[in-house]
Symmetry: C2
């Protein structure tokens, strides 16, 4: 019926993808292992993807048309199926966690693993542990973490919920003294969890308020799932942008709910039977879990960015637009500097975040061991660093996902593009686990403290304030910077690290001298400090590329990505660099921008290889624009044919509404014409 | 049951709002008229809001829980109801359009008004006009605009759909020669429209290709709404982030569909019966409609920003967080420089966009009159200016809506906050009506052309390149800038305009000298050019504030908003200003930032008044956080109680999934414990 009369853009797209894949020289298998933490991890991940993508319970067809209630029910069915698969295939709990991270939607079960279980395991006392740890580990009970309240978030000291100890019965009484004391945003609390760990103000006999502590409480019956007496709870309603639809973030109010003494999580602070308080060895020991979650968010940012950039680069490779060349074909849009100049830096950040996440995990495992043995010397330090990294990784990746989506023009706004979903699921990361605006202030406070403690000639600075070293010696800030060549920077990126470290040092010093933090300073200064920390890590990572298993032939390409990362970090810091004389005049700035542009262009031939190395299946990406085979137009067409609104030839809206509108208009038009003739 | 034992945060929120409202000195009625284009317009808008908000058809309760199909059907019911109201209340078509702009979701009818009717009215020939104009005006037919195709967007010259003239029958044959020729993204085409205006390549006898032209075509029967023979069409599926859910953006394929000669829109270009082509007087005359739409998008950006900032400022006024002061209350978060430093510039941009939109409408009405009389001298100029404004207004307002949403922390991610919806509905504006990335390039091209045409001593530059005047005289660029005081800048903001004009001039000159546009230059240069144009308009607007009806006592506050706008524009341009020596060193930059911070702080006491002046009803904002009375926590609580997932005490998911998971876990835990004992 539709006979072709000119080269077919749909077929051309597939040809373009094949050609681009053929042209790339990087070795996918070794890069894939490099990005996924080794061959074993990568293989395990791949096996689970194969299982899930073949199982109809995890089908993604039609989900963009489902109501939120239906998406919730579907998520619960997926949760059951994951456990059936665990039984059947002998998955470890690590495998189960892996399967959750592979799914592109957050299930209530995620909260059990990420928010409930680690806190329980780290802080439950022996009696509680003996009674519940096996059930926690097998999901014989399902947990949630209850901290945020309706009127208070990050600042736990202001929470309203109370836990009052009664020595007569050796019980705590959990209570919500007001509407605004209702726990809010607690994932899985709304409709799923049977138990929770709740942050409440501990009140001892005599009304002595001891500040927020953690308590273990049963929320729903294990017999019939009905709420326990005195517990009022439910789902808090849908989230913005359709995000987190399958998760029942909810509210919980306690009306004088009694729990036994042992239900206080007592590993670090205890109450005796008589009602006396036993101090924890270190105030902040309890925050260990949060630090771990935050460092995991760097890897999360890397994965989300990797998905978005895979889709955007594949689409930009097959999309053609502009003045045709002699062969009659329009240029591939990835060939435009305005497109590759936007996409390649995002690709670079995906690589950086994935590897940085790995580097941090090792670092934090070491520190966790020191913590466990009572050494808390690095804790404050670590807290500031992870805060800065959390802000930086989430803010940047959210913006990158949206840039990737917009790079696809109109089609990027289709749900079928898959990038909107990434955004909706990831954008709350700017607010949860510490609101980014609040964390910025903490980073700045820690930086000012480190600056003020700085001694001349000091050489033993910890990694997070290593940039301040620049101020301790006789070295003067470099005045001006020569952008030699990308090759020279690939061989030795240390000048770029110096640039970003000097910038952080001078910005912090300026703020310290100014005496007050006004307006938007915090975000700018926190970024400078984090940039310096990350730049030093990236230079280390660049040195290790081959040792980490990348082929010698490919190491240059990966290092070029890392250099591009540092160059674009410098460009984003331009006004700081100029104000402090670290960069001067149009020529140097032009050279920086020129180097970025040529680096981006030089990476285009490798773009498909470098994104294939993320190894996402079509099922994982669930994107018509990100199809592995480049057949994006057929994919868009096929998805449109499945749209439920198209099931009937004539929409039901015709009989109910449209027909009336048309007939009303026709009557009025006829009247108007009659009147005109009179 | 829940007895209060401490000051109630929910009640305090209402008290805070009342106090803030009492403290404001600005006169709401006159400011309201100033922002809504006069008392008459404002009153008309208010009347319609009253009608719609009282009508259950326009209830917003529960819509965040509806599937997309349901939201589409609901939109159709609203469309019928709007027409019933038009009949009943004698609304003009302008009133109907107003009602559409009041609704916070896009209906297919919007496309009839914005995309179909203007093109039809401007370009239909006499015969077509006589036959259809009354039906178009009354919605006796429902229209859509068919331009974008599956494989081609903004660049109309590459569209694949053909319209081949057959002199034998005096008909055109519309045809889609491939899958990728399918019209795509056409709003209202999917399931609603009966007719469309289609962009197709005109082919004359002998195969002579004349480029893209517009044709009028019937898509569906007026008898039963079934698709016409040879027309394959449908809805293309859901959009990202749940946006545009009620609109049936769709696909249309033509299989040799015949339409009569008169169906070519022949006002500007014609085909004779014999098949000869009659040239249009001016190639670009047909673009007039698009220019008008783009300038309307500046007002749209202002309205969307105004809604988001009203919600954010109200919430920041009643939300308390931090170290309590002696009265026992934590500070209102709006008192933090990091919060008001973020929100006040957004408020300033809302004011600027709303007034700028009005200024542009008048300007374009004048120019349209000159166009109609054949004077096309300003058309290219106008095209570049509106392109730049469209990019600037949409990009900025999208970012501002998201900043406003994030300023509300966790609650900002609730659908009940209402800001996610604003984002989802507005974010595609970066891609439609000309993709922002593509338009940037056009702005730069026009700027370079204007620069190259510049003559020494020239004084007759049109508004869009007025900044180039700076280069024509003996004046040297200012070296350094003194930020005297906000009062001095309010009295005379011309130094700030000069700063932004010099920056545009120097950036364009630098690019012209560099010889090539690389990487990300286009966005930066386009922004500089548009900033200069807008800065000049803002200075004009500041001079007219009192003349435009604002009380003398309030004019200072409005002008301070305008100065804040200019200051933050300069801050966003910092790296350009520093590179070109227009600003130097830490002291000047510190003074700029300091001035911004003090200006923001000084506006806090007026913030509630300045946002009340937008005059949005609670129904319009549909936001628990933006409640007029400040009772945000009660509103969040009440919405949660309406969540459908909470209807049953025990979720259906328990029987289907959760119970199995728990019992499976309990069995495994018992097994593990048995094994441990062995």
């Amino acid at each position: 019926m539709f006979v072709l009369t000119r080269p077919d853009a749909a077929a051309q797209a597939a040809l373009d993808m094949t050609a681009a894949r053929k042209a790339t020289t990087v070795d996918i298998p070794s890069l894939r292992d490099y990005l996924h933490g080794g061959a074993e991890n990568r293989q395990r991940r791949e096996d689970i993807v194969r299982v899930l993508s073949a199982d109809p319970v995890f089908s993604k067809v039609g989900r963009d048309n489902m109501s939120r209630s239906k998406l919730f029910m579907r998520g619960q069915a997926m949760t059951r199926r994951l456990h059936e698969l665990q039984n059947k295939l002998n998955w470890s709990n690590d495998d189960l966690r892996r399967s959750l991270s592979i799914l592109d939607e957050t299930l209530p079960l995620t909260l059990h693993f990420q928010a409930f279980e680690p806190v329980f395991n780290l802080q439950a006392g022996p009696a509680l542990h003996a009674e519940y740890s096996a059930l926690v580990a097998t999901r014989g009970i399902l947990g949630c973490y209850l901290q945020t309240e309706l009127a208070h978030g990050t600042a736990v000291s202001a929470l309203e919920t109370t836990a009052t100890y009664d020595p007569a019965t050796r019980e705590f009484e959990l209570h919500s003294p007001s509407l605004t004391a209702a726990k809010w945003w607690s994932g899985a609390a709304g409709r799923t969890a049977t138990h929770g760990v709740v942050q409440a103000q501990l009140i001892l006999p005599g009304g002595k308020r001891m500040g927020p502590h953690l308590f273990f409480v049963q929320l729903r019956s294990l017999e019939d799932h009905r709420p326990m007496r005195g517990v009022v709870l439910g789902d808090q309603g849908p989230k913005a942008l359709g995000g987190f639809a399958a998760t029942d973030n909810g509210f919980v109010r306690f009306d004088r709910v009694r729990i036994p003494l042992k239900n206080m999580l007592s590993k670090f602070a205890q109450v005796t039977e008589a009602g006396e308080y036993v101090r924890p060895p270190h105030d902040k020991l309890a925050y260990g879990g949060m630090l771990y979650i935050r460092s995991g968010m760097v890897t999360g940012a890397g994965m989300m960015t990797a998905k978005a950039i895979t889709i955007a680069i594949r689409y930009a490779t097959v999309r053609r637009q502009g003045t045709p060349s002699p062969d009659g074909l329009e240029p591939q849009v990835i060939s435009y500097p305005s497109v590759n100049g936007r996409l390649m830096p995002i690709l670079a950040r995906a690589y950086v975040f994935l590897r940085l996440g790995k580097a941090l995990s090792s670092l934090f495992t070491t520190i966790a061991a020191r913590l466990a043995s009572g050494d808390t010397s690095l804790l404050a330090e670590l807290h500031a660093t992870t805060s800065g990294l959390k802000v930086f990784a989430t803010t940047t990746s959210i913006a990158d996902i949206e840039s990737a989506r917009r790079s696809a023009g109109g089609h990027g706004f289709s749900a079928a593009a898959g990038m909107g979903r990434l955004y909706a699921e990831w954008v709350p990361s700017a607010s949860y686990e510490g609101d980014n605006y609040v964390l910025d202030q903490q980073v700045v406070r820690a930086a000012l403290k480190a600056y003020r403690a700085l001694k001349p000639g000091q050489t033993d600075l910890p990694p997070s304030s290593a940039y301040l070293q620049r101020l301790t010696g006789v070295e003067n800030p470099p005045s001006g910077f020569t952008f030699t060549s990308v090759e020279a920077l690939v061989a030795d990126p240390s000048t770029l690290v110096a640039l970003l470290e000097w910038r952080a040092a001078l910005v912090v010093r300026e703020l310290a001298n100014a005496g007050e933090v006004t307006g938007m300073d915090a975000a700018r200064v926190a970024r400078a400090v984090t940039d310096a920390f990350v730049a030093a890590r990236v230079a280390e990572m660049a040195q290790e590329v081959e040792k980490d298993g990348v082929r010698k032939e490919d190491a240059g390409v990966v290092k070029r990505l890392f250099v591009l990362y540092l160059l674009t970090s410098a460009e984003a810091a331009l006004s700081d660099l100029l104000v402090h004389g670290l960069l001067c005049g149009t020529q140097e700035v032009g050279a920086l921008r020129g180097t970025i542009a040529t680096t981006c262009a030089s990476l285009v031939p490798h773009a498909i290889g470098l994104t294939d190395a993320f190894a996402f299946s079509d099922w994982e990406l669930d994107s018509a624009l990100g199809m592995y085979d480049g057949r994006v137009y057929e994919a868009l067409w096929e998805r449109a044919q499945r749209e439920p609104l198209n099931e009937k030839e004539v929409t039901d809206a015709y009989g109910e509404s449209i027909k009336w509108v048309l007939q009303n208009g026709q009557r009025r038009a006829a009247e108007a014409q009659r009147n005109a003739k009179l």
